[in-house]
């Protein structure tokens, strides 16, 4: 035993030097990694005229938040942030709810098509979305016309929510059903013996147990839906209903694109996901890893 410890010590000393070296190299790359983000932040604090007059690398004459205020004003960011919320919050709740339903049924009741169902949902999540863009659009119009209201799904928050749900529920199902396998079945057994209905079994017994993966998934899904802008591009005809990520386009293509303003806009739009990530890092990680590596 003692020999092992001594050897361990030697090994550790040697390793320490090497590790410091490795750490320094990775540190360098980490700097390279974060530099574009820092540069964008730096750019956003400087007025465009400073760059024009003195160059990109000039010592800053002015550093202020003017670009941020202007970005809020020019882009009407508040409105777009609200649009994002209108879509994101219901989508995430629905995805988690529907995903947990399937996961619950599949892991607690044995039907012949259980596995098929799981495969079906997981495969759906991996399809290339491009193939569905245009048909989904036609579908929305046709369904709308069927009910006499073309804006029933198209150009409606509800439509965007629905499409996010349809596309992400597969992932949620997959993650939650993997997690469910780690929940002892005895809990369900006693629930059933107590004469719980299926709904109460789900709602009162299992849902509380699913809190950790639901939280993780919720964070991850919020981030994904927040970041999406393609669906809104195709399914929203009114610009004023589009999410904040699309609004960024309003800053581009000015007679000379004011890059400093654009940098401020980008920083504002990026802030929520970055803050969310920094605060809820654990949830992010477990959300992703539950899905990919099955716990």
């Amino acid at each position: 035993m003692s020999v092992t410890i001594v050897q361990n010590k030697e090994y550790k000393n040697k390793q320490k030097v090497k590790d410091n070296f490795i750490s320094a190299i990775i540190g360098f790359f980490a700097f390279v990694w974060i530099f574009p983000i820092l540069w964008t932040l730096w750019t956003s604090l400087r007025p465009y005229n400073d760059i024009i007059s003195y160059g990109v690398f000039s010592w800053p004459r002015h550093l202020n938040l003017d670009n941020y205020f202007q970005a809020f004003r020019v882009m009407g960011l508040t409105k777009y942030f609200l649009n994002t919320l209108y879509v994101m919050v219901p989508s995430v709740i629905l995805i988690l709810f529907l995903g947990s339903l399937i996961a619950f049924v599949v892991s607690r009741y044995s039907f012949r098509f259980n596995l098929t169902l799981l495969l079906f949902f997981t495969a759906g999540n991996m399809l290339p979305t491009i193939a569905t863009y245009i048909p989904v659009f036609w579908l929305y119009i046709k369904i709308g016309d069927l009910f006499g209201n073309r804006s029933l799904l198209y150009n409606n928050y509800f439509g965007i929510i629905l499409i996010h749900v349809a596309f992400q529920v597969g992932f949620a199902t997959f993650v939650l059903s993997s997690y469910m396998k780690t929940v002892p079945k005895e809990i369900s057994e006693s629930a059933i013996l107590d004469g719980c209905s299926v709904f109460r079994h789900y709602w009162n017994v299992l849902l509380p147990l699913l809190r950790p993966p639901l939280a993780a998934l919720g964070v991850l899904m919020s981030c994904w839906i927040y970041n999406d802008f393609f669906w809104a591009l195709i399914l929203m005809s009114e610009d004023s209903k589009r999410p904040v990520t699309s609004a960024l386009r309003q800053l581009q293509g000015q007679y000379i694109t004011d890059f400093n303003l654009l940098a401020a806009g980008a920083s504002i739009v990026a802030a929520p996901t970055i803050i969310l990530f920094l605060v809820l890092r654990k949830q992010f990680v477990s959300g992703l890893t539950l899905g990919a590596t099955k716990g």
Binding site: S23, I130, V169, N227, A263, L288, A292
Partner: protein, 303 residues
């Protein structure tokens, strides 16, 4: 004993009350219906449309085209092969460079080297950004008048060609794509490693194995399930690649990818069902990796 308990819970449909049966059907039915209507049905429409001529407006204008769109793509559109090449470049780069780098980082961070927590955060940060923002950020870096050009002492008049220079633009696009991908892989692998018994590693170190040997002979083989999943994710992501290039080049085909061509022809200004055929090709290429993925993930269940 356990089996007995499970058997008791796992009851056949018949033993459930009518109400319960209804609840269960709704639980399964609603999400399934959503998936079928908004995901599988549109995909099927695309597949069918890829065998037609249509301008995308009046259903009565749809004309059967047989394999004409595919023939046109395979025999008449050199841009298809450029796209295929770019998809393959993407795939190879991700498989042999970006993904291993992510694994390497995960391995180092798992050993808790100095500063690993902050490094982890930094490498993962690009993953949480929207591609719209990634496009803007990298434009700041690379455009004429941007940081990289500035470092090289170029202004807008004599800026170095980057997006349009075909000897380097593939690498630049790969680098930007990796900026996002490496962090993602790093995180996935890290989670896998956490489950790995670290005493195994120490034991092998004591046996005089080098770091590399330990990784190659002990850690890597034990991580096989994770490896396969990461590989398949890498492949599917490479074949589905679209957003980043769309942000950089729009629908112009300066650096084509299968999905860019699909979007350009399907939506775009022309609307032709050649676009549907392009997306079907991309879809078919994805099918095999998807099947491998499913097989791996549900291995136990399938048996």
């Amino acid at each position: 004993m356990k089996t007995a308990a499970v058997n008791k819970i796992v009851r056949s449909r018949r033993s459930l009350s009518r109400n319960d049966r209804f609840t269960l059907s709704a639980f399964v039915g609603i999400p399934t219906l959503l998936q079928i209507i908004f995901l599988w049905f549109p995909t099927l429409i695309t597949v069918v449309l890829s065998f037609t001529y249509w301008n995308g407006v009046n259903v009565s204008d749809i004309k059967w085209a047989g394999l004409a769109n595919y023939k046109n793509i395979f025999l008449g559109s050199p841009v298809f092969y450029d796209a295929l090449k770019n998809n393959v470049v993407w795939l190879l780069w991700f498989t042999f460079i970006a993904t291993p780098l992510g694994i390497l980082l995960a391995y180092q961070f798992d050993r808790k080297i100095k500063g690993h927590q902050i490094y982890e955060t930094i490498f993962y940060m690009p993953v949480v950004l929207s591609l719209a923002i990634i496009g803007i950020i990298w434009n700041f870096m690379l455009q004429p008048g941007g940081f990289v050009q500035g470092v090289m002492g170029r202004d807008i008049g004599n800026a170095v060609s980057i997006w349009g220079n075909y000897s380097i633009n593939s690498y630049v696009i790969m680098a930007v794509a990796s900026w996002r991908h490496i962090g993602y892989i790093m995180l996935l692998y890290l989670a896998g490693l956490k489950a790995f018994d670290s005493s195994l590693r120490e034991a092998s170190a004591i046996d005089g194995a080098t770091e590399w040997q330990t990784f190659r002979k002990i850690i890597f083989p034990t991580m096989r399930p994770v490896n396969v999943i990461i590989l398949v994710i890498t492949i599917i992501d490479s074949l589905r690649a679209f957003d980043l290039v769309y942000i950089i080049y729009g629908t112009s085909t300066a650096w084509p990818l299968l999905n860019i061509l699909a979007f350009q022809n399907f939506a775009g200004q022309g609307i032709s069902m050649k676009g549907a055929a392009y997306s079907v090709i991309a879809l078919v290429l994805c099918v095999v990796p998807i099947l491998i993925y499913l097989r791996n993930v549900f291995k136990e269940d399938l048996q």
